[in-house]
């Protein structure tokens, strides 16, 4: 039993509000990814849940029990700190085993668990070093290891893989998944890596300036972003967003360019509404560069000039000029494209998004 529920959770430093009364219910064994721009209050939220930061208002329940005033040790959580917070005076082995030692675990049990964690994290050869003798990534792995040797009610991970290389990160992702499947813990996972958030989380919480913008499954937040902010934040490269005015079934952009109003929004807007039109890079592609989309495509053809292409190895970003600014399209293996060349592009309007320009709220019903 380790549901976590935040009620009007608020944090202020003096007069500066940092977290503005957020509400969140996390089910037992749920894996929650917490994402948001730098400085939006993710770490602060985790630290409040851990009991390291006093809460200014609201309450926190873990496993149905209000823990507002309980010290961290009574909350049975384990945490990976963004700054690692390793014990500099202990070896890697001691760092890993410390919480078990405190819990009074038997020697063998401790050794076994430390060995297990260090194997997962590739720290075997480093067990007798001190943190000061490790590389940045190795330190981060120790921080990770310190959390995963335990079976807490709740895991709090604060960007635990940010300093690891892509390969190791993929590996670790799998290990975290396994771990979560094995131990019966609830996980709150802060990350800037969307692949991590998408692959690991049951639900994603998107924060912004101390507020929650949207809570939803990875698919939901990706496909049905609730706000313009979420739309722009989730997905890499980000969604193309352009302001437009609705005019008789058409979207009119500042540059004068026009697009038909996507069918799914027809009933929700009226002429004269100021909206933001959004389209993911995947949904713009050179006509003929066939992608057999799973859904019903509502493709609009338009010819646009190429500004630049950016090959990323396994995919290429193509920037085209639309509405006076860059608009990015993402594709695998395009043919060579020269800047300035005008290309017929297909816009899959069935995948388009519209948001109210004022509030930023989605116009999807």
């Amino acid at each position: 039993m380790a549901t976590v529920s935040l009620k009007k959770l608020t944090k202020r430093y003096g007069n500066i509000g940092i977290v503005h009364g957020i509400d969140l219910d996390i089910a037992d064994r749920e894996f929650i990814a917490l994402v948001g721009p730098s400085g939006c209050g993710k770490s602060t939220t985790l630290r409040m849940i851990a009991g390291l930061e006093e809460i200014s208002a609201g309450s926190i329940e873990i496993g149905g029990r209000i823990v507002n005033d309980l010290p961290p040790r009574s909350r049975n959580i384990s945490m990976v700190f963004q700054s690692y917070a390793l014990y500099p005076h202990m070896t890697v082995r001691e760092n890993l085993g410390f919480s078990l030692k405190i819990a009074g675990a038997a020697r063998e049990e401790m050794d076994r668990r430390v060995a297990e964690a260090s194997a997962i994290l590739g720290l075997d050869t480093l067990l007798d070093r001190r943190p000061s003798q490790l590389s940045g990534g190795q330190r981060q792995r120790v921080a990770m290891g310190r959390a995963i040797v335990r079976d807490p009610d709740v895991f709090l991970f604060d960007e635990p893989l940010s300093n690891l290389d892509a390969k190791l990160r993929t590996q670790m992702r799998t290990e975290i998944k396994k771990l979560h499947a094995k131990v019966q813990s609830t996980v709150i996972y802060v990350t800037h890596d969307q692949v991590e958030a998408m692959t690991l989380a049951d639900r994603i919480v998107i924060m912004r300036d101390g507020h929650i913008e949207q809570v939803g499954t990875p698919d939901e937040v990706f496909r049905r972003p609730a706000t313009r902010f979420v739309a722009g934040f989730i997905g890499s490269p980000p969604m193309n967003l352009h302001e437009a005015t609705v005019d008789d079934g058409q979207l009119v952009f500042a540059s004068g360019e026009k697009l038909p109003l996507p069918a799914q929004f027809k009933t929700n807007v009226a002429t004269g509404d100021r909206v933001v039109f959004g389209l993911r890079p995947d949904d713009i592609y050179p006509t003929g560069h066939g992608i057999s989309s799973g859904g019903v495509a509502d493709v609009h053809q338009i010819e646009l000039p190429i500004t630049v292409t950016e090959p990323l190895g396994n995919e290429t970003l193509v920037f085209v000029e639309f509405n006076g600014t860059d608009c990015v399209s993402r594709m695998l293996n395009p043919r060579p494209l020269r800047p300035g060349e005008r290309v017929a592009m297909s816009l899959d309007l069935s995948q388009a998004h519209l948001f109210a320009a004022e509030t930023g709220k989605t116009l999807r019903s």
């Binding site: 851990a50 009991g51 390291l52 010290p71 961290p72 040790r73 049975n76 959580i77 384990s78 945490m79 700190f81 700054s83 690692y84 917070a85 390793l86 014990y87 500099p88 005076h89 410390f98 919480s99 405190i102 819990a103 001190r130 943190p131 000061s132 003798q133 310190r146």
Partner: protein, 298 residues
Amino acid sequence: MKGFKPSAPFLLLLPAFIVLAAVVVVPLLLSLYSSFTPFRLTKPETFFVFVGLRNYLSILANTDFWWAFGRTVLLLTIALNLEMLLGLGLAMLVEKATRGQRILRTLMMFPMMFSPILVGFQFKFMFNDNIGLVNNALQSLGITQDAIPWLIEGHLAFIAISIAEIWSSTAIFAILILAGLLAMPKEPIEAARVDGCTPWQTFRYVTWPFVMPFAYIAMTIRSLDVARAYDIVKIMTDGGPAGRTELLWTLVARTAYSDGRMGMANAMAYFSILLSIAFTVYFFNKLAAARTQIGAEW
């Protein structure tokens, strides 16, 4: 010396070397020499009479000296340990205080501002068996009807001296440890709390290892900074009565100036240096070990 380019640490340490050489090393050699003479203050010519190890040999046979030696070790051990414990406690109490830190810290250092001479007088008056504050208080409170001879009875005198010494010097530990506490990083403490440590465990496994080097430095400093203790003891009992509280320092000082037997006193002093060296080396090793533990390199 052309082309000789001294290294940075050498240059940085040079002022220290110069001062110490001038003020400590030269006099030290002089007094070392004089410990091999029957030098008497009032007979300068004796400075040039060399008697080899005679002073040292007679010290070896001097049971009073060895008693004083043992008592000094005991006092140092007891006082230093208690001071450290109390100093640590005091530092933590003050560090935890949320309000009035500045005042508290200043008050905490209050005893350091008392000249040891004054401390000596003060505690001598306080422990006076007849009109002393302590006995007066005990009698007024009805705890005892006797005039407890604090400065007479061997153990009590030892206790009284220790109390004076501890009162006056705990602050030194407290301030040094407090500075150590302030300098330590806070993240590991948070980590420990999350790892399930009780406040005591946090202290034991995280705070203490960080503060330990400072505690050992304070220990070393205090074990050497005997002037304080000397002044206090000198005034409170001057080793008496009947030599019951005789310490190395009072013995050496009396031999040196009252008796004027400087050569002998210096020989005794060099024996006591052995003691100090032992203490210093001991604490140094502890310090080095504590340092390696927190990952500081040598």
